[in-house]
Symmetry: C2
Subunit: 405 residues, 2 copies
């Protein structure tokens, strides 16, 4: 008999029929004797539909009112799911973020959790009820409603798992776990039984968009065990937790990301302050820069390359063109046809040679490397987009990941 | 410069375009120097759509969860309307029922207001903002959300007008005022510039479904002046308020109601307790009985007739058949083809002869009367449904209402 926090995403509750199916899953676990706390996202495209409505009534919808609007999405699904569970004969109650004691700051649309006051949740749990909690939302100490930003329902689930000392936090998604590579690209890809939070963070930022980084960071910091599994079957998925005895595993998985573009400023004079002068204005415009590489190409000048999300490319180029002359750069060139391929594994911390193995495998497949970036547990290479799938398959084979578990 | 509470119904905010139009109306009043508090209903058919969803996930949606669900309807429209007002350059903030201090009991789906704590509203008003309040909802002292029942947004508006000591409570609807009769039936019907709350209550219960009775009762009790007007033009509508100097006006208007059906229990033994034995079980089944007439038809027995809503007819007949034998009645007969025609006016209190005038007018039009019921300011006759429109026109002419104002 465990205390289980479950989270269901929008695709899992997109229709009344799916809501009834989720209710059956919850009830079946409840009948096994588990105490269930279920965090739910808005149905299907509700959030996007609401944003579209907002943009029809306002040229620039204010964040505070957008939060008031969006918070309804999760309230709708939570009340419907609570009805469906009760209809199966099991007591259930839905609770908003505020009623669940999720206290946030007042930064609308990307509020941060300040405190967790699970008194009401504990009280309702003692009545042997299933609790259905609206994800993605919280409340300030002034009773203002807030939302936690994209993927915030995952954060809600992890935070409640921590506050309630749950045995596990199950993320029910449309994939059935974390794989050694994207199975659509590598048919031999294996589902991993366990990854560490650090690996998950690197895999997420490297393009394996199963879990939002904030929820994994929270889980890592507070020791919450996450179980990523499918909403549509009962198969075990992938546990995200710290593992002591896994030093022999060097590489955990291969991630690829087609969502970035590369910008190069050519022949920038090599003097102090250049990088600050460039990346300050980009940050001011909320443009996230991922990889940054600086190569001295000839005496006194350097090529400065970096990657940004493809959707930010035009705005980033505008910034670069605006300060090109001031920086003394020759020209600004962009390349949107790139892919970032990453090899991830905590074992790299104590094993040398992974980088070399990666470069050899790519060379053997005749794939040119544009950029390289390394962290303690990850090596990323930017290659041409047409080479992306070939690169993932070559690396998956080279590191023998088809034998993982 | 006045403090104006406005209420907009669901049809007035059914689409983003209509929301923008309502925002323009609000802003134009604000720019005239008025302080605006706007109560809004859910967009168009939102509430019905949500109930349909609830019925898809549950065979019997529990009231508490239905309230959680339905309250989102007004939250969505309030946030969109606040966005639209801000987009026109005027500061605005949306507030839920709870944030507006509408404290109710915990009877879900038909909660009653227990207390009004307008502190937050007053605070926001002092910032020279337009306030947009979600109608139809409140909150219990345990932070549980409730809804006030059908037409609850009107009640919200009247309650806030009272709590804020507003100068007027404007009900913006799809009709532009209260008429001496339904203009679709009587082309000469006149818009009334004023009616008393008592007249409005009788007109409402007699079939003129412009305002929910609860909101008029609240307004009467607490002296709130209501202005019923159109959402779609700037014409003055009808004021609902007490008027001293209107004794010369005898009849204010003619209402008709096609929504009732008549049941007669024939030859019920005339002994004490019969009515209680019949109407007790009907009340237990939440069947509202309107008119009740008892005629002694022959020695020792009586015919008992009453009207119920057409939608309750089958259930009411079931109850009657169930106790017919016990009561000793000969038979139960029903007639759904009836219409209730009512003549309403506070002047009747001090003027005799209205009933006689009504019966004469109906006789002159060759219309047979099935049932008669009177109150201090109303006389209602049940006639055959085919005679309904002819009866309304005959009475409108007989009481010279085409000259009203």
């Amino acid at each position: 008999m465990a205390l289980v926090v479950q989270k269901y995403g929008g695709t899992s509750v997109a229709t009344p029929e799916l809501i009834r199916r989720v209710a059956e899953r919850i009830v079946s676990r409840h009948k096994q004797g588990h105490r269930m706390v279920v965090v739910v996202s808005a149905m299907g495209d509700t959030t996007d539909d609401m944003l579209a409505l907002a943009n029809k009534v306002s040229s620039r919808p204010p964040d505070r009112e957008v939060d008031m609007l969006l918070a309804c999405g999760e309230r709708i699904s939570m009340s419907l799911l609570a009805m469906a569970v009760q209809d199966l004969g099991v007591a259930a109650v839905s609770l908003t973020g505020g009623q669940s004691g999720i206290i946030t700051d007042a930064v609308h649309r990307k509020a941060r959790i300040l405190d967790l006051k699970p008194d009401r949740l504990l009280e309702e749990l003692h009545k042997d009820q299933v609790l259905i909690v609206a994800g993605f939302q919280g409340v300030t100490t002034d009773a203002e409603e807030t939302t936690l930003g994209r993927g915030g329902s995952n954060l809600t689930a992890v935070a409640l798992a921590y506050a309630l000392k749950a045995d596990v936090c199950e993320m029910n998604t449309d994939v059935d776990g974390i794989y050694t590579a994207d199975p659509r690209v590598v048919p031999e890809a294996c589902k991993l039984s366990v990854v560490t939070p650090d690996e998950m963070l690197e895999l997420a930022s490297a393009g394996a968009r199963v879990l939002q980084s904030r929820s994994v960071e929270f889980a890592k910091k507070y020791g919450v065990v996450i179980h990523v599994r499918s909403s549509f079957n009962e198969n075990p998925g992938t546990l995200i937790k710290e593992v002591e005895e896994m030093e022999e595993v060097v590489v955990r998985g291969i991630a690829h990301d087609l969502g970035e573009a590369k910008i190069t400023m050519r022949h920038v004079p090599d003097r102090p302050g250049v990088a600050a002068r460039l990346f300050g204005p980009l940050a001011d415009k909320n443009i996230n820069v991922d990889m940054i590489i600086q190569n001295t190409s000839e005496a006194g000048s350097t090529d400065l390359s970096f990657t940004v999300g493809k959707t930010d490319l035009d705005r980033a180029l505008e910034v670069c063109q605006g300060i090109r002359a001031e920086l003394g750069a020759d020209e600004v060139v962009a390349d949107a046809q790139i892919a970032k391929i990453s090899v991830v594994g905590v074992g790299m911390r104590s094993h040398a040679g992974v980088a070399a193995g990666m470069f050899q495998a790519l060379a053997a497949a005749n794939i040119n490397i544009h950029m390289i970036s390394t962290s303690e547990i990850k090596i990323s290479c930017v290659v041409g987009q047409p080479d992306a799938e070939k690169a993932v398959r070559a690396l998956h084979a080279a590191f023998k990941l088809d034998k993982s578990s």
